[in-house]
Symmetry: C2
Subunit: 422 residues, 2 copies
Amino acid sequence: MSIDRKPIKVHEAIEAVLKFAKDGEVEYIPINESDNRFLKAAIKADHDIPPFDRSPLDGFAIRAEDTVTASQTNPIELEVIETVGAGGLAKKVPEKGQVIRIMTGAKMPEGTDAIVMFELTKEIERDGKTFIVIKRAFKSGNDISYRAEETRTGDVLVEAGRQVEPGVKALLATFGYSKVPVAKKPIVGVYATGTELLDVHEPLEPGKIRNSNSYMITSQIEKAGATAKYYGKLVDEFDRCYEAVASALEEVDVLITTGGVSVGDFDYLPAIYEKLGANVLFNKIGMRPGSVTTVAEYKGKLLFGLSGNPSACYVGFELLTRPWIQTYLGSKKPHLQLVQGILKADFPKPNPFVRFIRSKVTIEAGKIYAEPVGLDKSGVVTSLANSDALVVLPGGTRGFKKGDEVDILLLNGEGSTEILKK
Amino acid sequence: MSIDRKPIKVHEAIEAVLKFAKDGEVEYIPINESDNRFLKAAIKADHDIPPFDRSPLDGFAIRAEDTVTASQTNPIELEVIETVGAGGLAKKVPEKGQVIRIMTGAKMPEGTDAIVMFELTKEIERDGKTFIVIKRAFKSGNDISYRAEETRTGDVLVEAGRQVEPGVKALLATFGYSKVPVAKKPIVGVYATGTELLDVHEPLEPGKIRNSNSYMITSQIEKAGATAKYYGKLVDEFDRCYEAVASALEEVDVLITTGGVSVGDFDYLPAIYEKLGANVLFNKIGMRPGSVTTVAEYKGKLLFGLSGNPSACYVGFELLTRPWIQTYLGSKKPHLQLVQGILKADFPKPNPFVRFIRSKVTIEAGKIYAEPVGLDKSGVVTSLANSDALVVLPGGTRGFKKGDEVDILLLNGEGSTEILKK
């Protein structure tokens, strides 16, 4: 089938996809299951932290005024009248010359206004009573952790759209989120196309290769925060392909196909979009790899027609599908993080299209470097395993040299609010 | 209880822990469940990639010698005798003046030695036969992807100890790993101590706070690649604490306790180590936060006595427990990744101990910066949620200024082979 293909720019493609962005629904899940999920609401302090004035260490709660005259040459003795542990409350109120032994985290006893750590005191016993000896004066407020000094009720501590990680989880626990409001995961369907594809458990045959894209893409989907639903391989017959795609679309939020979007005789996807009556957003992007990447929209749902070449498939997902997923999850940084760094190899040959070069980032003396990994051909699968970044080489008439400053998209970075403008 | 505490250096503490490193067993799991697991064996190519000479695009497989005379002014016609799709094999062998229509990925037909893409040809029909018109000469080898040009049988593509991610998974699929050899996850038990601790679902009470450490640390354990087993809160009674610890130790590979290692009256852990007959590796580290961090060994198993202060607990885990877990999993980079960067705030006050300051890393114009996050006190929980790094400020007599170059440990980095020497 012959179709007119007019390449659009990468950022135009991303923008076209995000016109069909959706805001995922909320669901409440147990805190123990919330790791890596995206918060659908900000975490707000429902109480002050600390919730009360407290001792940050093990020592004695004293009345500072009792120590005014204390010095090396004039040690004073104060009577220990009670011990209060963390979680306990003092029952007595010290009067002049009295102190309360207090453990880390315990609430400041009424009538006391300073903490003195164990190490600055000496304990003595006399007449069945316990005293401490103090050899210096302490000011009111010494070593107290004051109520709300860390956070006040109502403060927003973590924004909606953030992913739950250990530090976030500590706050969820602190503020009593036994159930956590998170974004539901979108369901992303995957169909592979290609008569040459064998499944992972099948022995190799002449002319055939194993299907690596489906495994790779389901990993990418899960890493991006969605649920992958793998439908298998589309058969090599148009009507059955059409039925399979139409039926899968009813069950998923987004459907990815790998392969079948090029100009080959068995590339059925363009015809399937047409028969569906889907709105083809674009069928060519001015980029390498992945120029044939196609996205169509049907009843508000997107069909991502990714290339069957492993590297092109990988890049197409990261640039186009991932931002859709992350937007659905409420992430404020749905795009790959873009940084600048130094190129570690020559790319003398210019290319009319922007190139995304699989690379490995290193940090040396505080600076970012990117080294291309392996063969830079779209069909190459091995280089993906050792990449953690894509070097972005703009299209045009110039080549690039080792030492040039280039844009680098981090595959494991914290994301970005901005769309790459290339 | 009074114990002698002699601080050791951070790297001495890490080295002491890793003297009890273990090498986890292998288990074979389905490829679909292998995301984020650690490979117990290298991925080796069991066949060449490509496994055969193939066409990297949609076009025609030709005999280059047939095109020697072709030019703009002297176009030649070649007969199309067969079409072969990816996964298929040509049945015919072209003779002089004949070509085979070929799709991306298909094996090079016998007798052909060059590929010409569709776009460089024109198809015509005559006498019921199909011909292509070619207006230039092509060299033997034009646009062929040769067997093994990407990888040869026996090449090691991914080392043992690497974590499975999308690119690695693509290779596992390519080489037929329907079952993947990964390291068994160690089981890390967690007991919290502290009478002041409420569980996440309990309402606040005077003098009490919610237990955030247990939730945080189980997240850290899972993130590090292990299985967390939370046992709950140790009760405030020595004999029952002792029984609980001794019994948990039988079920886990490592036991973490949070709190109870300081010098407070209810800090039972030192006495529990003593009663067990455990070998205390150290009970003080020259660092802030987390100086009271204690590690003991009992019958080859480690007991990590982390501080009850959230930040101290967090740092203690990342510096000491995580490398043990990652070593067990076979990671070659079990330590936090160390980079250099620019400090974005003043720390004028010197400290005798090395400090680990919760910070947020930014990358600006190819350089790394670290900005301290929130209050830098060990009891502070809120700053952890917004940190992705620990700035390392060496102990000594000097303070640090905005603009100083400092060491930075990345909490989400790719790890390091090296132990921090501070």
